[in-house]
């Protein structure tokens, strides 16, 4: 490949904030995004909001995907959002997946989470949304 024909893949950080110990869903999503041509930085389990935001900065990602099952999303997501606003460039967008009640999902979206996927979401839908978010306006 010639040096002038490089592409710019979408970079996504996938992380699990908080204490739940189950990351199968996050791994399935990571793999689907990989198969859609994205570079997925898999940060894994038990990440603090500070660690997630530092990783997002260092890895210069377009998207941060948060996966959570523990119910602590209303404590952890707003912290990630506010730290991201402070520490990173404004283009980074956050989406989320896991067990999040509709009421909370509405509030989180108002706070700036761009998309939230529940247990029934298809991988196609997640990939399509991630592409749209990454390529779309800030």
């Amino acid at each position: 490949m010639s040096p002038k024909r490089r592409t710019t893949p979408i970079r996504v950080l996938i992380a699990k904030p908080g204490l739940d110990g189950h990351d199968r869903g996050a791994k399935v999503v990571a793999r689907a995004l990989r198969d859609a041509g994205m570079e997925v930085i898999y940060a894994g389990l038990r990440q603090t909001p500070e660690e997630i935001v530092r990783a997002a900065v260092e890895e210069d990602v377009d998207l941060v995907g948060l996966s959570i099952l523990s119910g602590a999303h209303m404590a952890l997501f707003p912290r990630v959002l506010s730290l991201l606003k402070k520490e990173s460039h404004p283009g980074i967008k956050v989406f989320a997946g896991g067990i999040i009640p509709d009421e909370d999902a509405r509030r989180l979206k108002r706070m700036g989470v761009r998309a939230i996927f529940g247990p029934g979401a298809s991988l196609e839908e997640i990939v399509r949304t991630a592409e749209k978010l990454a390529r779309g306006p800030t």
Partner: protein
Amino acid sequence: MTRPAPLPPAARAIVRGDARALARAISAVENGDPAADPILRAIYPRTGKAPVIGLTGPLGVGKSSLVSALVGHLRAGGRSVGVVAVDPSSPFSGGSVLGDRIRLERAPGDTRVFFRSMASRGAVGGVAEATRETARLLDAAGFDVVLVETVGSGQVDLAIREIASTRVVVLVPHLGDEVQTLKAGLFEIADVFCVNKSDLPGAESALKDLSELVSLGGGRDGWRPPIVATSTVTPSGIDRLWAAIEAHQKFLDSSGARASGERLRLKQEIVGRVRDELAAELAGRLEQDPELRGLLDRVVDRTLDPRSAADRLLASLRDR
């Protein structure tokens, strides 16, 4: 030596330790973005200070865990560390899952570690095209040590030798008999051998095979690669591993091998860049230049052979 010219703002931010500016510059290098050029040119005079240490070895030997352990060891000693960890891109989708970060443990708020995951993006040899210049950016940003972790390498994935001044080849017990250690490739580039997972059975015979290999001679410039047993489960040997790396760094200075090695690596870098540019230029001419376009057709028709066509293409370069 002349004083370095004033830095462009992005380069100044990097030198000041701005993690965002550093991260964005690395992306620019990875993406072939022309915005990287002035930064790389500006920071170059400020590089060459941090030792660049490469860790390579087959898939699953524990390179990421060792990197994390070395980061911990260096931080405990008060030194800052920049890490580039390379994982493969899919040849099918172009995507990748970069999972080396998962092993990283650092104190909350510790900004004296910078960790960047990097996809190989089609490059062969165990690192990405952008890895060398990323190591340079980390050096310019003031990190005391730069660690480069290659993809899980095969026997001939040796591109790390063009980047790192000390190459650690990481192995584990039961990778094969002693004949494996005689084969060309991976074993030839080691400045330090590390037998990781040394808590597992078979570690002793792996250590013995390696010490026989080393006793047969090898190494460069009179350096005999030390062999260190490590484990990251119940961390052991990490201090000895770092001591072996430092001993090699000292040897590079005392023997004069640092200067000659650096000179060779920079020569390869310059020639490599020219080769890449020329290849792109020539490929373009072969498709677009009205006089040369016919060459490819004739090779396809078997009325001209590829070597003669290559000669003609090269000659077109000289005529200019």
